[in-house]
Amino acid sequence: MSTLTTNYLTPTGREEAWRFTPLKRLGGLHDGTFKLATRNSLALAGSAPAGVSFERIGRELVPAESITDDVIVGRIHEAATEVNVLKIAANTELAEPIALHRLAGGLTDAELSRVQIRIGANAKATLIIENTGDHLIAEDIEIICEPGSNLTVVSLQEWDSKTIHAGRQHAIVDKDATFKSIIVTVGGDVVRILPTVEFKGQGASVELLGVYFATAGQFFEHRMFVDHLVPNAKSRVNYKGALAGQDAHTVWIGDVFIRAAAEGTDTYELNRNLLLSDGARADSVPNLEIETGEIVGAGHASTTGRFDDEQLFYLMSRGIAVEDARRLVVRGFFNEIVSEIGNAEIQDRLMTRIDQELEKAGAQ
């Protein structure tokens, strides 16, 4: 893959966007030294409901709708000759979520996957992407929300322990559309996701939610960019993470840009981290850039802390053993966001996974 024209973008690690990422553990995705795989591991679970299509289409028919300065996303756009295209027709209302899942992957060669999701005007749907297994994968998902649509995308990174996953989930949100993203990262060796938003029409509303739990040696990075280009759009960001174990490392970057034209913007971003042991590191960097004062509101908050002794004391003073008290507190911490998924089976599975991560941490 060394002939790619994106090679000039190969990061050294000194760049702002790459300063936290362990480049040596990216499987060559950043510098093009990987071997390109031919597989396509993304598949629709079950059959497509009425109004929904999922097809693999040559890239000449599916041009990218967004630009990027991320080298890995650039490499995906260059390398992927076909695109997985999910379309939800205008005015379709789906009662049940659509689910995409992973077929067999591999770690010796890299899958560079392009996905485009398009929800038509006034349609309403939930999409769940279940990422499992061991993969070396770079994936760019463009999510195009047409006027008046309402889309929730739940992206579950329940990868096995050797996975290297880098990519972007880029939403283009048109007039009066509502987009909600829930990104859950609990598995993998290195996961680096860019949840990005580009407001295209007024009156649009976006929620970016996420939870992550990194244990010993895992690196999880979530780097938002919300671009308020147009007036009267609303964005909310809320990410919660827990870390436990030696060299568990998470990065949350929240870049929000309110351009001069974006009067009436309403934005708030929040990141909370729970450090459950020594030796773990959480980086949290909110960043607001504001070019107009004519806004409804703009704010951010970031906290990183340990277990609240007063909470543990309260629970234990009711007879609850310390391990159970910790489990309650951690479940409660994540519950605010996990409960937003709206699927009891997945929520239970994630809470059980969180219990297991905590137990692993306790054993250290």
Binding site: Y314, L315, G319
Partner: protein, 250 residues
């Protein structure tokens, strides 16, 4: 019949200027069915006594003993003390985000009873405990103490007292921040718990008004980290009339 016995209890807290002794030798015995009121001015160490007995990590025990039915409480973890039969109703109950009252109560009952309560009877138990304290059923689905008013927090504490059935309860300024109606409702809950379980009560308060509803058998005046005077209910009336001035100046 249970007995909580406090002997020569000395407690310090760490400050920037080193440890400071708050309790300077407290002796007190509370038996099942008895109600002891501890009254005293702000800063006299009343709450320190409550939290030290419950095992809050902030407080260092530097001397003395606390036993429940002859068993050393100070050697136990916080949860072990609760399982031994001790309950602390807190002045400032702590918010636990994302944990519902119903989940919290069931987890606590499971821990205290050694097995999960049968779901059918448990739901009824919680409902009637809430109804007895004039709490709306939707309360059970709220997160523990999150967004509760002062009155709701205290009702929630006393509901736990009734549900969890301890042997000895320490009520730390349960009357603070309550209006007249809430004070009556909460006090009736304490009296019910006493009658139902032969509960021994250590009632910490500034004011005598709660003692109109919860009649003390013994009144102890607390000042400067120790008990300075003891008597019957008539001592509370004297305090009501004269205040704490004579004890503070000592």
């Amino acid at each position: 019949m249970s007995t909580l016995e406090i002997r020569g209890l000395k407690v310090s807290v760490d400050t920037e200027n080193g440890p400071v002794e708050i309790l300077k030798g407290v002796d007190l015995t509370i038996k099942s069915g008895e109600t002891h009121a501890i009254m005293g001015p702000n800063g006299s160490g009343k709450s320190t006594l409550a939290y030290s007995i419950a095992g809050h990590p902030k407080y260092q025990i530097t001397g003395g003993t606390v036993t429940l039915d002859g068993v050393d409480l100070l050697d136990m973890t916080v949860d072990e003390r609760a399982r031994a039969g001790l309950f602390l109703a807190m002045q400032y109950p702590v918010e636990v985000p994302g944990v519902s009252v119903s989940n919290f109560l069931r987890t606590a009952a499971t821990a205290l009873r050694g097995e999960a309560p049968k779901l059918r009877t448990w739901v009824g138990e919680v409902k009637s405990a809430m109804a007895a304290l004039s709490m709306d059923p939707s309360f059970a689905e709220r997160n523990v103490n999150e967004g509760f008013s002062g009155g709701e927090k205290k009702r929630h504490e006393i509901m736990q007292l009734e549900l969890l059935k301890p042997k000895i309860a320490i009520l730390d300024e349960t009357d603070s921040g309550l209006d007249v109606d809430a004070l009556r409702i909460v006090s009736e809950g304490v009296v019910r718990a006493k009658e139902a379980n032969d509960l021994g009560v250590l009632l910490i308060t500034h004011y005598t008004r709660i003692l109109r509803y919860i009649k003390p058998d013994f009144v102890h005046v607390f000042a400067d980290g120790r008990i300075v005077e003891e008597g019957g209910p008539e001592l509370a009336e004297k305090l009501e009339a004269n205040g704490y001035a004579e004890y503070v100046s000592k």
